[in-house]
Symmetry: none
DNA sequence: GATGAATGAGGATTCATTCAT
DNA sequence: AATGAATGAATCCTCATTCAT
């Protein structure tokens, strides 16, 4: 499952421009997406404070003032990046909202999350940055996106009579999930430094997905 | 074992602090330590780029230029904060270097790490910030501090014939440990938003320590 | 008599306005006039430097680039506003040019000026702004419009054998007239703050007109 | 009567620097005053929006960032200029507060005001700029400084049984005073354009002072 | 006639750092 | 050891204006 708009580099956007040229909006939407792509990458690498609007603009192929034709300011751009990055998670949840909670459903959600983050690890980094600082944006993400997912995870645990985790430990177990999943994608430099592998290479991503599935199984069902 | 950098004009200050402690300084803490404390807190909350030297200085009770009597600059100060924060881990490892690797020893190390991070959660945040960006400082931390610990974890896994993890999954399992441990302390805002608890309260810290010990057990020994 | 500048592409627009008035424009006012109205108000409130072209455009119901279809630029727009505002004064003078100077004629001119400013107090503000800075535009206004009027005022004084004012004081007396007349309309906030009245309300305007007529009489004819 | 600090150009300040060098504050106060002097002049000439902080700084002999060591920002600087400029008026009023209202007292106040404005015509321009826009600062000036003076003027009129002005005209008469006095100093370019004289030359200032005294007499006591 | 996109110039302000005192 | 003053570099942003559509 995939989101529809501009991913990681300008080449794809060049194609999109070609498509777009046929529509009414000549270059606008595309430029906006290109800016969002660059901003997502830079914010994810350097954090909000460490990223200069001018750098985003330059890498998106325009000047800083031009960027203000598309976004109201650095804050607004940052928020737009977050919203765009987190939107797919909201969609997932809504999508699966009908299905009653179950281990299978939880597993499906986790799979989708992992798939999405695997394609866009910058989102994981953005989330960690936000969570570290605990800004206002983060609060929205946490309550809007994470809480529903967490609720699913918790009920999966509660329903499982075999779980190792006492009721009061269950939140910590869910938190552990989150840390492992987000951490894997967010902390690429760590893994690289420790194990001399690129955790975002296709090979490693594959391995990680399998690992996470087993990890989830263990966390839900483990017996001592 | 001592880390090599960020000690620019620190030695001489140490002496001067001694003088001052006897004469001027009201509380026992030297100015240098006060600066480090404030810097640790602010860097942990806002990241390197988001923290202004002037803010650190102000909260430490002096002006920015005065801070330069104690540290060679923002970079040096940041490094000193990291070194001071990470030093205890080096000491632990050195301390336990003699003991041959074993499950018991690994467990002991984990306990100590958790104990230390529980007292200084800012350290966890600093580490995550560094790891997110993957700067030069981080590389040193990863290689100097984490690799030895990781080596212990890996050998604990390897020695355990019952582990669920295949050889190629073992690094990911170790990484998962790290994410869970560091994540718990670093991402306090996340946990607070999700579960309405302060993860750094004594109660929660206690619970978390017990959880982590069980978690470690599961990660090492679990069977499907 | 027509002032020479600020009519860049205005003539052609006048034609186009005629067309539009019959076809598109909902209310009778042409876009050009609407822009001039808004610009007059904003320039009068905030001065030239303090007024953004974009603000004028927005309040006139279009975008800044569109405004450039009507005026050659901010300077040209400003000049057009001034010219339009001052033109009636030129017309008055021309109109009365035939009549020989006399106390009656002077009084008539003053009456008309007051009447006009009462309807368009922004003109008074614009004139004061210009006069404060003493820009090039102002010089034109002063020489083209004020000097002829002033000449009338001076000759009225000179002809009056009873005037209190010595020959060398007469310019100052004329200047005082100007300050009082222009000041009343330009400095509405002052009067409001001092006397808790809105100097541009119909009541006050009436009172002010009567006052100014008596003031003029006193200034011309007073004996100590 | 004169205010104590830095007037109109840097030469005087050079002297002050010499004096200041002996005191503890080496250059600070002087720099601050120099900035205020330049800012007063530029704000008076170009208005707030039309004045660049960098220009003020350059003319004061430093860079824009350095200016921020002395003032919190452009707004604060502007306010400081206003306060410094208006303070003498407050002092006057306080000084004369004891004396019961009388024609003599009013005349004395007017004399002092004229004297002060004659030395610092920029203050008059600043006041007119503020009054034109009607900003928050102006409101303070109007209520704090002008109202007390105005009260004096009004009571002078009321006490005079011979005054031409009806009760409801009296505020307008007082306003006329203000416009004439402030206008003369603020609108130098006007007078220059109309009468080819520099209204701030010593000669003209002298003439103006005499004129204003007679003007005040006429305004208070005139009979038709 | 209108507009979205783009931009060079400039503008206020912050920041890390230096230096004389 | 501390600080006020100063500053170059950089940051976010506004503005007047142009141009293709």
């Amino acid at each position: 499952m995939m989101v529809e708009a501009g991913y990681d580099n300008a080449n794809q956007n060049a194609n999109q421009n070609a498509n777009r040229a046929a529509t009414h909006e000549p270059d606008g939407e595309s430029t906006r997406e290109r800016i969002l792509d660059v901003a997502e990458r830079l914010f994810a690498q350097r954090g909000f404070a460490g990223t200069a609007v001018r750098d985003i603009a330059r890498e998106a192929g325009l000047t800083a003032p031009s960027l203000y034709n598309h976004f109201d300011g650095k804050d607004a751009l940052y928020e737009a990046v977050l919203v765009r990055g987190v939107q797919p998670f909201f969609d997932m949840i809504e999508d699966l909202g009908q299905t009653p909670p179950s281990a299978a459903r939880t597993e499906q959600i986790l799979d989708r999350i992992v798939d999405h983050l695997a394609t866009r690890p910058d989102i994981a980094r953005l989330i960690q940055f936000e969570s570290l600082a605990g800004g206002a944006n983060f609060s929205r993400i946490a309550h809007g996106w994470l809480r529903p997912i967490v609720a699913g995870g918790l009920s999966a645990l509660e329903e499982n009579p075999d779980t190792v985790w006492s009721r009061e430990e269950q939140p910590l177990a869910v938190a552990a999930w989150i840390h492992v999943i987000v951490g894997h994608f967010a902390q690429a430099p760590l893994l690289e430094a420790l194990f001399d592998v690129d955790p975002l290479s296709p090979d490693q991503l594959d391995r990680q997905k399998r690992f996470l599935r087993r990890f989830a199984g263990i966390m839900i069902a483990s017996r001592d």
